[in-house]
Amino acid sequence: MEAHALHKSYGSTTVLDGLDLAIDRGTVFALLGSNGAGKTTTVRILSTLTSPDGGRATVAGHDVVRESRAVRAAISVTGQNAAVDELLTAEENLRMVGRLWRLGAAGAWRRADELIERFDLADVRSRRVRTFSGGMRRKVDLAMSLVGDPQVLFLDEPTTGLDPRSRQSVWSVISDLVADDVTVVLTTQYLEEAERLADRVAVMDGGRVIAEGTVDALKRQVGTEQVELVLASSADLDRAARALDVAANLTEGGHLSVASDGTAAHVRHLLNTLERHGVDVATIRLHRPSLDDVFLTLTGSSTGSSTVDRAEEVA
């Protein structure tokens, strides 16, 4: 899947401003960004729901504009709103989609049964979706997206608004998909979600990708692990800074941060050194850069995302 220089504006507001993406088959790719960064628009263009104003994109080897039908035959989309018929039962929803995927009546029944089993919906299969919790509804929604065995699955904020337990269960469903060689493109505001699911992450801001890579690579981009030392007094702080020669890293409130590879040996060495110099260390903390740090570092300086915000709401 590839996107090249995608542009999209609504009125005078630019939502996508030269977006480039390349996503490998059979991987989970996360588009990470705050509200209005252009994630949803990207998914809508790649899933043929919206045409780009400029640039081009191919999904499963087909152009999203010129060969939209071929693209549609290869993909499934689960949007932000659960796209289910609330007045229909879980199995009726699944069978309807099965018919639309040309599985025939018997085929649609069979496929619905398989997915009901797989998503653990047997107890509620003949209940109307209206009576379901948010998490269950999302499961039915996901199951509907898998009826046609898509090569590519788009998930637009799959766990937004779910409680922690439902989130876990949706995550485990998505993890299982990878084993089936499905390419998953998911958008999320939750760094934890990207970290948990994605092989690669693209951080979006202001309608373009501002960083892209594996979770680890992105973290390295921000910095290494740090050992944070909380010292008993300011005299200890001075002594420690001299001993370790890290005056520049002094932080307020009796804290001292030292770059570290995070191994026990290094921490032991550090503490031994400090003890030799008579430094009284109260507590220590290991600080590993999280995707939050990556995200905040990368987007911290950029401006103008708030104007894009409104445009996406209108869209």
């Binding site: 609504y10 899933s47 043929t48 729901l49 919206t50 045409s51 504009v65 010129r66 060969e67 939209s68 039908r69 071929a70 549609r72 035959a73 993909i75 499934s76 989309v77 949007g79 932000q80 709103n81 659960a82 796209a83 289910v84 018929d85 007045l87 229909l88 009726e92 309807m96 989609v97 018919r99 639309l100 995927w101 040309r102 109307r128 509907m144 997206s145 046609g148 869209a315």
Partner: protein, 258 residues
């Protein structure tokens, strides 16, 4: 831009969607009951409460039934507009659009279900009417004529409702827009002859689609002369149908793109 879809699949997709919309209609019991019970109540109200005071030259029940049937289509159109708006609003249309299926099938489903719902509520109204003394004096052909005119009207008003559903941003707004369709019968010859209205209102009542449609149905069922009204009714309904169909197609394309 879009590769063609085999006609066989268009039929298959449409059937699936018709099944969906019919099933949703049956499940949406409140709307179904409203669409049937309210017109029946209104009919009884008019026949037993106001009817005695209204002189139409015939048994009032015979006069009012065609009007009530048209009123019925107004209630039915609210259901259609609301379900179309809900589909667009809730994102299920996006699911359908992201599949390699016939694009028009969703709307076909709504329209066919609407016609079936209206046929059902009309049948109930006519049966209750017969129970309270409705005695049309018509042979088979005039009956077929009346049914034909009504079907055409239902189809036209359904497409108008689809437009409302697509124009409205939400199900609630769509419901509000159908007020126009609900109100039209009152300013027509549905309940009282147009001649009894104040002179300034008469042109409004005479030059809106409901009056000729009602008069044509009356003509067929009661044997009153229809004259040019039948052609007028035909022109109104076919005109409305064509305009609403084209508008709905354009709106559907626009509402679900971009």
């Amino acid at each position: 831009m879009r590769d063609a879809l085999e006609p066989g699949w268009v039929v298959s997709d449409s059937l699936t969607m018709i099944g969906r919309s019919l099933r949703l209609s049956i499940r949406n019991l409140d709307a179904l009951i409203t669409a049937v019970v309210l017109p029946v109540m209104l009919m009884l109200l008019f026949v037993y409460v106001f009817g005695g005071a209204i002189d139409t030259g015939t048994e009032y029940v015979n006069y009012v039934v065609p009007g009530i049937v048209l009123l019925c289509t107004g209630f039915g159109s609210a259901t259609t507009a609301v379900s179309v708006a809900a589909d667009v609003e809730e994102g299920i249309v996006d699911r359908f659009r992201s599949m390699a299926i016939s694009r028009s099938a969703v709307l076909t489903g709504h329209v066919v279900a609407s016609v079936v719902r209206n046929a059902f509520s009309t049948l109930v109204v006519v049966l209750v009417a017969v129970a309270v003394g409705f005695r049309p004096d018509a042979g088979l052909l005039p009956w077929l004529g009346a049914v034909g005119v009504l079907l055409l009207w239902v189809l036209a008003i359904t497409w108008v409702s689809v437009c409302f559903g697509l124009l409205a941003g939400s199900a609630e707004a769509a419901n509000g827009m159908t007020f126009t369709v609900l109100f039209l019968p009152y300013v027509s010859s549905a309940f009282v002859p147009v001649e009894t209205m104040p002179s300034w209102m008469r042109p409004v009542a005479e030059h809106q689609p409901i009056t000729p449609v009602i008069e044509t149905v009356r003509g067929f069922l009661l044997g009153t002369p229809t004259g040019t009204t039948a052609w007028l009714a035909l022109a109104w309904t076919v005109g409305l149908l064509v305009i609403a169909f084209v508008a709905a197609t354009v709106l559907f394309g626009r509402r679900t793109a971009g």
